[in-house]
Amino acid sequence: MSEHFILPRGDGPSLLAVDDLRVAFGEKQPVKGISFEINEGETLAIVGESGSGKSLTALSIMGLLPAGGTIAHGSIQFEGREITTLAPREARALRGGSIGMIFQEPMTCLNPVMTIGAQIIEALRQHQSLSRKAARARALELLDLVRIPDPHRRIDDFPYQLSGGMRQRVMIAVAVACSPRLLIADEPTTALDVTIQAQVLDLIDRLRRELSMAVLLITHDLGVVSQWADRVVVMYAGRKVEQARPDAMFGNPLHPYTRGLLNASPRLGDSYNYIDGPLYEIPGSISSLAGDRGCAFAPRCAHVRAGCRDAVPALATLSHGRQVACPVLLSEENRVTAVDL
């Protein structure tokens, strides 16, 4: 696909390295050992349906697992430093400092009784020694950076006075206030209208370049992944099942789950209509698990074999950092390595 132009993006050393992360809630283990790296300046997307463990993975990095959840195993290294064992004070310095984050619903994340300016100033003064005056000036710069029109007038507004898209811009301003190295965006546009979604994702991408930060994008939306990610990790039931560049993943999905998802989604660029026939269906739901021994997708899989229920398939690494956890399709398609560009 030579017509794709590749934006200049960092291939530098890894900024974040997650290794065999397992998250436990009592007996349950919703994240069952996931590993990935994020390089400086790149956008890595984790895509999955509800119950895939994608949000818990993001919250583990932030040290913000919900009550009852613990990191049962594995390590998370940020800039070469282990962050799962940080003291609360050090963790607070990291959050909102070197790692910024934004969430799905800006209305519930912003404080409704504080002006947006006060919230940005609070974030700044928490991490940097700035005078009130200097912090306010910086807050105005940040509102301008995230393209809030007329920042001088808006800075003293309360969140309820802003639209959903504007609130998400304010959330982004708070998140990037201290020039983080990594921005974690957990479903940042799911609550937004589609024309506003495009604006917000373009904004995040512009800031990524201007502030040379990396972005971890958590989403369920394959379209968003295809347009804004450099690499994609597909999660299913707490594990990584596939990892690829978007053009490779959409052009030639290798895991039966990824294939199923792509086939099951009606495409905007496709005139296929209900009159022509039904959509492809992945049977069952993510709750139909195969127990802990086998491949979690086996009960829903069109390619399932006897061995699939006996052991969790290992991730095979192909060229260009591509990974897939399905020996059945790999053996059926020996040509995959050849077309894996």
Binding site: S50, G165, V194, T195, I196, S226, P266, E281
Partner: protein, 315 residues
């Protein structure tokens, strides 16, 4: 004769902060057996339209005629008969099922309300027969009837929501974002179910959605709405082959699609509040084609033939 015919329907709400013109002069025709998609962003009036048709909210002006009968002036008894033939499927399968009622009770309630089956043992048996039939049709086991909503996944709950709408054997079903809260793999299952039910039971759908790709797959005809007005209406294939209205085009460009690289910058500006509508064409503050005329005069729907019409001075 159309199954449903709506003319110049308006629904305004009076709020402490002023009037909200949620729906402003919308007309449409729905033929029997057809699926009409209503697409647009927040505040476009698509949900208000669905609720106004069933008179779950009272329209302020305009006429709704169903099978030749005017619904806006009908008697209470007539309204009850109409609602037996026109049902609704809601977006959120978690919020729209009473958590303290068994599935049997949830599915039997509409039959009791509409006096179906009659009284006594015979009536009860008839209602049970209908409920068991519909629960199988939507792909659940009869055993599900004696369980409660929390025991089901989101996709299964939406099947129950669909069963509740279909148990009365309606002619028209208004689906308000029926797959928006569902995971991708469950969306396909649910759309296929709705498609099967339409073919098996001879239904007509009004399919309200913000998701253009779903609308493109599942509808025969589409109406694009913006801030309470219809901006474009066309057969589905035609709308995608030649979108006329600049808003339709902006909406299509904004949807990220794996099959296509981004080519256009997203349209600028925010969605205005429906309480503070722009003058002239409501889209003009965000429109790349806007001229002086657009700020002053609201464009009428222009007919392009082949069932396509668009409200823009510049197309």
């Amino acid at each position: 004769m159309s199954l449903l015919s709506i003319s110049e329907l308006s629904t305004h709400f009076r709020l402490p902060s002023g009037a909200l013109r949620a729906l402003d002069g919308v007309s449409l025709d729905l033929e029997a057996g057809e699926t009409l998609g209503i697409v647009g962003e927040s505040g476009c009036g698509k949900s208000t339209l669905g609720k106004s048709i069933l008179r779950l909210v009272e329209p302020s002006a305009g006429a709704i005629s169903f099978d030749g009968e005017d619904i806006t002036t009908i008697s209470q008894r007539g309204l009850a008969l109409f609602r037996r033939r026109a049902q609704m499927v809601f977006q959120d399968p978690f919020a729209s099922l009473n958590p303290r009622h068994s599935i049997r009770k949830i599915l039997t309630a509409p039959l009791i309300v509409h006096g179906i089956g009659g009284s006594g043992k015979v009536g009860k048996a008839e209602r049970n027969r209908r409920v068991e039939d519909i629960v199988r049709r939507v792909g659940l086991e009869v055993e599900a009837l004696d369980r409660y909503p929390h025991e089901f996944s989101g996709g299964q709950r939406q099947r129950i929501g669909i069963a509740r709408a279909l148990v009365l054997q309606p002619d028209l079903v208004i689906c308000d974002e029926p797959v928006s809260a569902l995971d991708l793999s469950i969306q396909a299952q649910t759309l296929n179910l709705l498609g099967r039910m339409k073919a098996d039971l001879g239904l007509s759908y009004i399919f309200i959605s913000h998701d253009l790709s779903v609308v493109r797959y599942f509808t025969d005809r589409v109406m694009v709405m913006y801030l309470g007005r219809v901006v474009e209406s066309a057969p589905t294939r035609q709308l995608w082959s030649t979108p006329r209205h600049p808003y339709t085009r902006a909406l299509m460009d904004a949807v990220p699609d794996p099959a296509r690289r981004r080519h256009a910058a997203p349209i600028r500006g925010d969605l205005p509040s429906p309480q503070n509508l722009p003058t002239g064409c409501r889209f003009h503050p965000r429109c790349p084609l806007a001229t002086e005329l657009c700020t002053k005069v609201e464009p009428p729907l222009k007919d392009f033939g082949n069932g396509q019409s668009a409200a823009c001075h510049h197309v």
